[in-house]
């Protein structure tokens, strides 16, 4: 482990811990920017999909991982972002550069407003309330047919950035770069949150509400803000998603998508930005992975399997259960262990990460 000498207050505040970390992220960033030249168009599309999920994941992570509020309803805000973005462009005639951030803002404000009655709820009540919200959203979109096209759905136009037109299929590299830029923006504001008072207030609310209150944190307001920031980011993701899938119906934002988003960040690792990305990789690449495994089996073992319906979701379910049983910190937990292993090589001891024994914390008491 690299020992770090802290010489100024700024050491904790900087975005990168030290030069090694900076170098590592610089390499990662350069690779991501160069990706369109490194992989084929199909994979580039897949990676774009990963980024879209990662943005949504970060949004949800702020709420669940950072503030400790479980939401089983975030597909609703994907929908809000997606529909608002397209409606603002097509009906209000706003250019994309205005409609896109505005869609995020609408989603954020709506999220904070909806949160207001919900912030008094805990654990299971909140989970059910958000689940119900997600169910209703589908119905509301259908009811609002004149605006949303009802069950028929809407077409997303091409993205037009200051006159430069980006079509997902016509110009996949540009679409990817745009998504990457939004992703980096979201990572940046997420990191900024973590190092400022509000981010600490989120953590305070997550870990002990009474104590947060005694420190002067207005708990309901903080939760509502967490909802707002979370749904703002998720809304942005929804807006890109709309352009990515081209045509969308209420079905694309049903309650199963909400559930999947939550499960995704859990598999990735709650409470970390990495977790959102790891989870997105799993969700977005699992179908492709299963498809490739099937092809491989057919080619190398001579075993032709017919497509098994629902295999992806079930596999995902099993992965998730395995994680909860053996590695509750998700993929991030595994990654952190590996990193420590290499940093300490050859001094890594078994049992360095022995889980703290925890006792049943009753959640009937608040």
């Amino acid at each position: 482990m690299r020992v770090q000498f802290k010489t100024s207050y700024d050491t904790d505040i900087r975005l990168f811990k030290d030069r090694y970390q900076l170098a590592w992220y610089a390499v990662l960033g350069a690779t991501l920017i160069a990706l369109p030249w490194l992989i084929d168009v199909f994979m580039l599309g897949e990676i774009t999909n990963v980024l879209i999920f990662a943005i949504a994941g970060m949004g949800l992570m702020i709420l669940v991982g950072q503030t400790g509020q479980a939401s089983l309803g975030h597909a609703a805000f994907l929908a809000v972002g997606c529909y608002a973005n397209v409606i603002l462009q097509q009906r209000a005639g706003l250019p994309f550069v205005v409609a896109f951030p505005l869609a995020g803002l609408i989603s954020g404000v709506l999220g904070a407003l909806i949160a207001l009655p919900m912030v008094r709820l805990h654990g299971i009540y909140l989970a059910i309330a958000t689940l119900a919200m997600s169910v209703i959203t589908e119905d509301i979109i259908i009811i609002a047919e004149p605006l949303t096209g009802g069950v028929g759905g809407l077409f997303a136009p091409d993205i037009s950035l200051f006159g430069y037109v980006i079509n997902r299929y016509g110009d996949p590299a540009a679409f990817y770069w745009f998504t990457l830029a939004v992703t980096l923006f979201c990572v940046w504001i997420y990191r900024n949150l973590l190092r400022s008072p509000l981010g600490r207030a989120f953590a305070a609310v997550r870990d002990s509400e009474v104590s947060a209150q005694a420190m002067g944190v207005n708990v309901p307001k903080t939760k509502a803000i967490a909802f707002g920031v979370s749904t703002f980011i998720t809304g942005l993701s929804g807006a890109i998603l709309g352009h990515y899938i081209g045509v969308f119906t209420p079905e694309a934002f049903n309650v199963l998508v909400s559930i999947q988003l939550l499960l995704m960040i859990v598999v990735g690792g709650l409470g970390t930005i990495h977790g959102a990305f790891f989870g997105a990789l799993v969700i977005a690449l699992l179908p492709t992975g299963i498809g490739m495994a099937r092809d491989w089996l057919a080619a190398n073992v001579g075993l032709t399997t017919t497509a098994i319906p629902g295999l992806e979701t079930a596999t995902f379910g099993v992965i998730l259960i395995a994680f909860m049983l053996f590695e509750p910190m998700g993929l991030y937990g595994i990654w952190a262990k590996m990193r420590t292993y290499f940093e300490l090589f050859p001094f890594y001891r078994q049992g360095m990460f022995v889980r703290q024994k925890s006792y049943l914390k009753t959640e009937r008491m608040r």
């Binding site: 904790d12 997550r206 002067g216 703290q356």
Partner: protein, 260 residues
């Protein structure tokens, strides 16, 4: 005028009268101790001051403000910091982060400036850290600065909680059993700190404590509670020698025989 004045406060939980018509004043600059057997209502008094509960009757005035007009999250802003009997730290955060939460009342930035981490936010953060480092110095917490609370020993957690309360920069510090579960040496440290908090920092202290030795050595005045009622109030000696207090602690053999 007293810094804190609790007037005829009564608190009921269902049929249980946890605090029964209790009054006391805490003067600026003193260390005031609340003693009494378990279940006497001491923590409930703290929780009432923290506004976690609405009292059934009575009023609480702090520094000229009627606390009952304020929400629980405004109490810290008014200058009252506290610790908890069973430690309520933010488990999944580091010692530094915990203490920085104590600076929340000094937050000058808003959502937007924080999302973009404007230079003003950076400057404020540095100021917060300076204040917190000061508390870390005072309580000798350097060794644990960047560790998660979840992995810390009990004694250290107690100290961190005190540090977090100090980071608020309060006028009044409420300490709920600061020495319970601590070793002899650690208790000694607490005694020194409480002295220093009073003398050097000029912070008024209201504390609940069972260790009579600690109470006698640091507090100026003591109030004894039993079954929610005030038994005695005076200097440590006076209270320790009060017949009512002795009876409450040792039990009242006569009464019990009568009841049986």
């Amino acid at each position: 005028m007293s810094l804190l004045s609790v007037r005829n406060v009564t608190m009921k939980f269902g049929g249980l009268v946890a605090v029964n018509d209790v009054s006391f004043d805490v003067e600026k600059g003193e260390v005031f101790a609340l003693v009494g057997p378990n279940g006497a209502g001491k923590s409930t008094v703290f929780n009432l001051i923290s506004r976690f509960y609405d009292p059934f009757e009575g009023e609480i005035v702090f520094d000229g403000e009627n606390l009952l007009d304020h929400a629980p999250s405004d109490i810290a802003q008014l200058g009252i910091a506290r610790t908890f009997q069973n430690i309520e730290l933010f488990e999944n955060a580091t010692v530094l982060q915990n203490m920085l939460v104590g600076r929340h009342t000094h937050r000058t930035s808003n959502l937007l400036s924080e999302l973009f981490f404007l230079p003003s936010v950076r400057r404020a953060e540095i100021a917060h850290r300076r204040a917190v480092e000061d508390a870390i110095d005072f309580l000798n917490l350097h060794a644990y600065r960047d560790q998660l609370i979840a992995g810390l020993p009990y004694g250290v957690r107690k100290v961190v909680e005190m540090g977090r309360a100090m980071a608020i920069g309060p006028k009044l510090l409420l300490l709920d059993e600061p020495a319970s579960g601590l070793s002899m040496e650690e208790t000694q440290d607490v005694a020194f700190w409480v002295e220093d908090i009073k003398k050097i920092r000029g912070i008024t202290v209201l504390m609940v404590e069972h260790d009579m030795h600690l109470v006698a050595s640091v507090s100026d005045r003591v109030m004894a509670l039993a079954d929610g009622k005030r038994l005695a109030l005076g200097t440590p000696q006076e209270v320790q020698n009060d017949p009512e207090v002795i009876k409450a602690y040792i039990g009242a053999p006569d009464d019990e025989q009568e009841a049986a």
